[in-house]
Amino acid sequence: MTHAIRRAALATLLLAAPAHADVDAAITDHILPGFTEFSNAANALSDVAAEDCTAQAVAPAYQEAFDAWMGVSHLTFGPLEDQGRALAIAFWPDKRGMVRSTVARLVADQDAATATAEDFAEVSVAGRGLFALEYLLFDPDFAGYDAGSYSCELVQAVSADLARMAAETRADWSDYATTLQTAGEAGNTTYLTEKEAAQELFTALVSGLEWTADQRLGRPMGSFDRPRPERAEARRSGRSLRNVILSVEALEDLARHLANGPIPETEAAFATVLDLARELDDPVLAGVADPAGRLKVEILQQHIKTAKTYAAAEIGPQFGVAAGFNATDGD
C-alpha cells in the first residue's frame, strides 16, 4: 500500500467514524462561562461608572470588561449577530473614523439620548460600546471631562448600555445553547443537521484566527512601504497586543473543547503564537513603523495563520467539516 492510498484509507476511516464534535463541551465550558464573565465585567463597569464617572475611576473596570469581551468576541453568530450586538459592543475596524465623529457629535450636541436606556439603545452603533467608551476615557480630546459634565453622563450611559447588551446576550445564549444542542432535530430550522452545529463552532474558530491575523495585526502592518500603526485596534487604551493575546487564548480554549481527539499540531502552533506574542514588547504595535518591528509582527501573523491551518486540518476532519465552501471561493 502506497503512502497516498494509506492516507486516503485513513481519511475515509475518519470520515466514517461517528462525527461528534464536542459541541456540548464547547457550550458548557467555553461559551456560557465566557458570556457570563463578560456580562459580570460589563455590569461591574456600569456600577463603577454610576459611582464615579471620571475617566481615571472608570478605566480599570473598562480594561476588565474589554478583557472579558475578548473571551467571546469570536462567537459572532446567534445572540451576538442578533440586533447587531457585536458591532454595538465593539465597532472596529473603523477606517472612516465613525466612532470619533459620532462621539464628538453626541458631546457637542449634549444629545439627550443619555436620558434613558431606551433612548440610548437607539444611538448609532458607532456611538456605543467599548470603542465609544475608549474615546471618552483615553483620547486626549475627550478624556479631560469633569464629574458632572455631559461627557461623564455619556460614559455612564454607554457603560449601562454595554451592561444591558451583555446581560441580554448571556440570557439569549441559554436558549441558543439549546438550538445548537438540538441541531438536526425536527423543528430546528437554524441547524438542519448535527454537523451544522459543529460547522458553526468550527467556522467561529477558523474565522476568529483569520480575523486576528488579518485585522488585528494586518491593519496596523499595512504594506511594507506604508505601515499603519494608527490603525491598531484599541491603541488608545493600550490594548492592541493584549487583544491579540487574549483572542488567541480564547480561540485555543475553543479548539481544545471542540476537538474530540488529540490536536497536537494545533496545540504546538498555539503555544508558539502565544510565546511570540508575549515576548513582543510592543503593546500598541507601534513597532510596525520600522522594518525590524514590522517583521516581528509579520512573523507573529504568519504563526497565527499556521495555527489556523493546523486547526482546520486536525479538527475539521474529525467531524467532516471545512471552512465555508462559497465564503472562501469568492467569485
Partner: protein
Amino acid sequence: MTTRRTFLASLLASAAAPRLSWADAGGPTHLAAAREADGAYALFGLAADGADIFRIPLPGRGHAAAAHPTAPEAVAFARRPGTFALVIDCANGTVAHRLTAPEGRHFYGHGAFIEGGDILCTTENEIETGQGRIGLWSRRAGYRRIGELASGGIGPHEILALPGDRLVVANGGILTHPDRGRDKLNLDTMRPNLAYLDDSGPVELVELPEELHQNSIRHIATDGEVTGFAMQWQGDLSDPVPLLGLHRRGEAPVLASAGLVDQLAMQGYAGSIAMAGGRVGITSPRGGCLHLFDKAGNFQESLSRSDICGLAAAPAGLLATDGLGGILTVTDQGLTPTRKAPRAWDNHLVRIGA
C-alpha cells in the same frame, strides 16, 4: 457568419436529432453545481421544491451553468480562469460538446443563450489586452465558435439575455491574468460597469460614482425592465458601501443599502442576485446573510444562513442554496429550509426557462 457548410450541417443536425425538451430530463426547474461528500463534483437538476431530478458528474469544480431555454441542455463552466465549458445533455447525462476557449482567451464562468437558444454567449478575457469579450457559439453548428463582441469593459462576469436578443453584462472591472491565478492586478484603477449590448457590441454603459470605483459589478438579475446588479467591494472591509444597484435603460442607477449594522454584516460581498415577486435578493456567503429589497431599492429585511450563496427566482418566490447542502425558500416567514442534501452547493442556482 453562416457558411454553406455550416448551414448544411445544421440542417442535417436538426433533421437527425429528435426535439427534446426539459420534460425529457425530468422537468427540472433549476440547475446547481455541487461538491459531493466524497469530494467529487456534479451538476444537479432540481425540482421547484429542491428535490433532485438528475445528477451528472463534472470533472472539476464548476461555477455557474447556462440553461438552454427549451432543449434539455446545460452549459457548465469551469471556475475562472477556466478554459473549458461542457455542454451537457441533461436527458441522457452525457457530455454532448466540449467548448474550449480560443487561443489567448479564458472563460469567466457564466454564459447565456439568445436567439431562441441558437446562440450561446460566454464571458471571456482576451488575455493579451485584458479586455472583456463575449464569445458567440452556434448551437446548430455543434457549438462552433462563430464570432465575438466587445463586452464593454474588463473582467465580464455574469451575462443575461434581455428581450429582443439584447444582452446585459456585468463587467467586474478587475484585471486578472491566468499566469497570476485570481490575483487582482488593477485595484487602484479598476472601473466596473454594467453594459447593454446589441449585435454590434456595447450600446449603453452604466458606471458607478468615482468613490465606488472599487465596487466590482459581478452578478445580475433582470425582469426585462429593471436590471439589478450585485457588487463585491474591493476597498476597506469597514466601509459600509452599497452592494446592490437597480437600473432602468437610459437612467442613472439606484444604489441600495441596508442600515449600517446589516450593511456591514454583508462583509462587502454579494455573491448572487435574483428577482421574484417584486423583490430583489442578494446573498453574502461571507456574512451568512440574504438581504431583501423592493424594486425601488428600499431595504426590507436581512435573513441569516451560513454560507448562503445560490439564489434564483422560483414559482413561489425566491429559492436559495448554501454550502452546507441546504435548499431554502424565502417566504413572508423568513428563510424556510425545504431540503438538506449531502453536498455543498456551489455559488449559483440557475433558473431554467427564465
